[in-house]
């Protein structure tokens, strides 16, 4: 009993420290990568004992700065409601990660530890459902602070999240039809093999490229970051967190990055083979190369490689998301809504029907 509890706590600590850590690193990457893309140097001033470390200490200085700032609550606003909004946003942003498998099994003391917090049959639905709850924190933040711009921002966020939330669900029906399951762990198992005589990993992206593109686009929209940052619009309406300062603002800020990581995790799990390492097979006890060679890897090594592969893939997708974020300018609200309803929705419906038709024909 206690052992199970400890294992669960350990897994939760591992996953959420990974999630938080990656989100914190993204705040640094955001600046560094944008700088490199614009041929600048980027954050490099803060240092620890004279070590610049490519500007990584900026993460700490940011936290210190946000924690020591005045926490301002506008007059007439209930303090607890004011504090609730960032809390809800942050929690809801973290929770979908619980359904995501970050590895297969880890052999530990003669026992196999499932590397997933919640092994649910409806893992994907759970993740999407929780992600769609992000709207509550946003609406609350805008509404409770009695600021017109904040309300405007949160209404825009509502319009955007609801519109794109529909597409988010439909874009994933194609892969779900293909895998025949809503269980995220089973989806990864489906992808943990190869096709084309062992040359190509059987990843969802190769079978559902359209769904991948649509999901990634909608995923960016769900994180409310550029090019879909209409609810925030830093330079014009500031957005729903207008009346927040200090670490409460920091919570909103961090939630954006956590959502980015969560979207990356979902993308990796559904389309990029999750924790599976190409050509590495746990049943065969090592790598099975396409040309017939075999490299033996001990079971613990397999598990660790898979856990590492998961984070590497998540990091790569985060990098791609940042690349997109620093390339495209913000859409106007009509453009964003049109993109969602006129392009992404038909495309995802098309993909769903196409997949269904192909599966019907092939399955006969």
């Amino acid at each position: 009993m206690l052992r199970t509890l400890l294992i669960d706590v350990g897994k939760a600590l591992y996953l959420f420290s990974g999630l938080m850590g990656l989100a914190a690193i993204l705040t640094w990457m955001e600046r560094k990568q944008s700088a490199l893309m614009q041929d600048r140097v980027g954050a490099n001033r803060a240092r620890i004992f004279g070590l610049r470390l490519l500007g990584l200490p900026h993460i700490i200085t940011d936290a210190v700065k946000l924690l020591t700032k005045e926490d301002f609550v506008p007059a007439g606003v209930p303090t607890w409601l004011h504090a609730l909004a960032p809390w809800v946003t942050l929690t809801v942003a973290c929770l979908p990660a619980a359904a995501i498998p970050f590895g297969h099994v880890l052999p530990w003391g003669g026992q196999a530890i499932e590397l997933q917090l919640m092994d649910m049959q409806v893992g994907l639905v759970y993740a999407l459902a929780i992600a769609s709850m992000a709207i509550y924190g946003v609406i609350l933040a805008g509404w409770v602070t009695r600021n017109k711009w904040a309300v405007l921002g949160s209404l825009r966020a509502a319009a955007q999240l609801i519109g794109f939330g529909v597409v988010l669900g439909i874009s994933l029906i194609g892969p779900v039809l293909l895998y025949g399951t809503l269980n995220l762990q089973e989806m990864v198992h489906w992808q943990d093999t190869t096709v084309l005589h062992g040359w190509l990993p059987r990843w969802g992206i190769f079978f559902q490229p359209l769904a991948f593109l649509v999901f990634l686009t909608v995923g960016i929209a769900e994180t409310k970051r550029i090019p879909f940052d209409l609810p925030e619009g830093e330079s014009e309406i500031i957005g729903y967190f207008l009346e927040y300062s200090g670490m409460k603002f920091g919570a909103f800020f961090l939630a954006d990055f956590i959502e980015t990581v969560v979207v990356a995790m979902l993308t990796v799990t559904v389309f990029l083979g999750g924790w599976s390492v190409p050509y590495l097979s746990a049943d065969q006890g090592g790598f099975v190369w396409p040309w017939g060679a075999h490299t033996a890897v001990p079971p613990a090594g397999v598990a660790l490689l898979q856990m590492a592969a998961f984070w590497v893939k998540v990091f790569a997708v985060c990098w791609l998301l940042l690349l997109i974020r620093w390339t495209l300018p913000r859409f106007r609200i009509d453009q964003a809504v049109r993109l969602g309803w006129q392009y992404l929705l038909p495309l995802s419906v098309l993909n769903t029907f196409g997949t269904a038709a192909v599966l019907l024909i092939v399955g006969q």
């Binding site: 700088a35 614009q38 041929d39 600048r40 140097v41 690349l323 997109i324 620093w326 390339t327």
Partner: protein
């Protein structure tokens, strides 16, 4: 429907092409110069702060006359002794008692250095001209101290040979 495809094409292109450009730029070297630590390499004829090698100045006032913003203030007094020649061979017939250039007014047009017959007025590569008090931007090149100037003026009976710039203006 045709319009739909039109927009589809341009949206897709408008997303993919910038992504490619951004990706290429990601792997280019930064162009930033870490300024206080490293100085930019200036072009050979960059026009920066002025410098007057006063020992070679003959007080001909040409620089002050040509200056479009009238920021060079010179006062000369006829020499009562032989001051020698400049290193371009011009005879120095005048004391240059005041030679002030107000860099805050200067527009760095370079005209004054062009006309200078002895090439003593030059532009240096020094661009770091920021000061805490704008009067510190008045560069005083004359080597003659106020006491010496008073003595020279007294000997000349208060008569100057030429006055330009702010010195020539009526208060």
């Amino acid at each position: 429907m045709k319009y739909w495809w039109y927009r589809f094409y341009y949206t897709t292109r408008g997303v993919l092409w910038p992504l490619w450009v951004g990706l290429v730029n990601l792997f280019r070297r930064p162009v930033t110069i870490q300024y206080p630590h490293e100085k930019p390499r200036l072009f050979p004829r960059s026009r920066m702060m002025l410098y007057n090698d006063i020992d070679n100045c003959i007080g001909c006032l040409q620089c002050a006359r040509v200056c479009p913003v009238d920021c060079i203030a010179i006062e000369t007094v006829k020499a009562d002794k032989d001051l020698g020649v400049t290193n371009t061979g011009h005879k120095k017939k005048l004391y240059v008692t005041i030679f002030d250039i107000d860099e805050a007014k200067c527009c760095y047009c370079n005209l004054c250095t062009e006309v200078c017959p002895t090439e003593c007025l030059v532009m240096t590569p020094n661009f770091e001209g920021s000061v805490y008090d704008r009067y510190n931007l008045i560069l005083r090149f004359a080597k003659i101290t106020p006491e010496e100037r008073a003595e020279i003026l007294r000997k000349a009976g208060g008569k100057t040979a030429g006055v330009t710039g702010i010195l020539a203006r009526k208060a």
